[in-house]
């Protein structure tokens, strides 16, 4: 049977009915989708991968509570997001170091190094924002989502997102001035 076309809802229902192996289809389909979001939220690729793994296991645990199985991925995103928020509270200092190291690892040429250095500076500044501020910045300026899309995804309003973002701009400006 070709399961490549199965909807997320069909897969979720199959897993809940006991066909646990089909959960792998959801993992395969969405493992990369929010990797960049998680990496920017947490400051390192390793931490992002851990968070994605945990979020998938947590989503499996709570799968019966996924009220709209066809919107699995939006629901999964919220689990991952909560995981990212919790992680940052837990180990802020360690992750900041990881952030610097992880980004250094991709430095190759001088020009790349300059770019990497600037990116690292911004990433470290991002880590100084509150998770809520960082989240809206990452979703808009890295994931390319509009305020409207973010508001829908997070169940909040555009004006409150803008307020968060505008504080983020100010704090980033301060951070970058202090660091350069």
């Amino acid at each position: 049977m070709d399961r490549g076309e199965a909807s997320d809802g069909a897969i979720v229902r199959a897993v809940l009915a006991g066909d646990v192996e089909r959960y792998a289809e959801l993992v395969r389909k969405y493992r990369d989708r929010y990797a960049r979001f998680a990496a920017r939220m947490l400051g390192s690729s390793d931490a992002a991968e851990d968070a994605i793994q945990d979020a998938f296991v947590r989503a499996y645990d709570q799968l019966a509570q996924c009220n709209e199985p066809d919107k699995f991925v939006g629901w999964f995103f919220l689990i991952l997001r909560n995981r990212c928020f919790a992680e940052r509270r837990k180990s802020k200092d360690r992750i900041s170091l990881d952030a610097a190291q992880a980004i250094e690892a991709v430095e190759r040429t001088d020009r790349d190094m300059e770019t990497a250095e600037r990116r690292r500076t911004l990433q470290l500044a991002l880590l100084e924002l509150t998770p809520e501020q960082r989240e809206v910045f990452v979703l808009k300026h890295i994931e390319g989502m509009s305020y409207g899309e973010i508001a829908e995804r997070l169940g909040t309003s555009v004006p409150s997102l803008k307020m968060r973002m505008h504080r983020a701009y100010d704090r980033l400006r301060e951070q970058l001035r202090d660091r350069t």
Partner: protein, 199 residues
């Protein structure tokens, strides 16, 4: 107002938000330099996506398989504020523990009935019962009792074959549908759902 002094001008923020159609040209000349600084900031975001290890899927599935055996004992802490129907966090299971075929009599044909065990994991509950079509939705008719396992409530009933609707009632007034069973709207509006058990 130190913060204000160091922050970007509101028009520059609108530029960063992509709300100025003409870009820099829409800004007062005095703001251009500040706007350049702001745009440089955005240019420094790292657009690269990390490579997720191929082992992730295997690790997730290993964890999931390990849970499969325990799934029916999954403890989800149930707290009053989680009991809104959409958030109902109960782990509920219904086990068919036996099948009884009542002997046909002269008056009645054979009726299959089954023994069903209702289990709710609700560590914080003081009282739990099950109400449904089989007891006229009476929350006091069928209490669940605490089992030896912490937080687990259970009741065993013998029900006739056919479709039954039910919900759990926690602490007398919190109605909880079984999130692991099929559910249908309760017919009263308001978004509440009843679980459906077909024997």
């Amino acid at each position: 107002m130190r913060h204000e002094d160091r922050g970007f001008h509101p028009d520059v923020k609108r530029l960063l938000d992509g709300e100025l159609r003409g870009g820099l040209d829409d800004l007062a000349p005095a703001l251009r330099e500040e706007a350049q600084e702001a745009l440089r900031l955005l240019a420094e975001v790292d657009p690269t996506a990390p490579v997720v290890s191929d082992a992730l899927e295997a690790r997730v599935m290993a964890a999931v398989r390990a849970k499969r055996g325990r799934r029916r004992e999954l403890v989800v802490r149930l707290r009053p504020w989680m009991l809104a129907p959409a958030l109902a966090a109960a782990a509920v299971l219904v086990l068919l523990v036996g099948r009884v075929l009542q002997a046909p009599t002269a008056q009645a044909p054979a009726v299959a009935s089954l023994t069903v065990r209702f289990v709710l994991v609700a560590p914080d509950a003081q009282r739990v019962s099950v109400a449904g079509t089989f007891n006229q939705w009476d929350p006091s008719a069928t209490p669940l009792v605490r089992t030896a396992e912490a937080g687990v409530w259970a009741a065993t009933l013998t029900l006739p074959a056919g479709e039954h609707q039910y919900a759990f009632v926690v602490d007398g007034d919190q109605w909880v549908a079984d999130p692991a069973a099929p559910a249908i709207p309760d017919g009263f509006g308001g978004g509440r759902r009843n679980s459906v058990l077909t024997l």
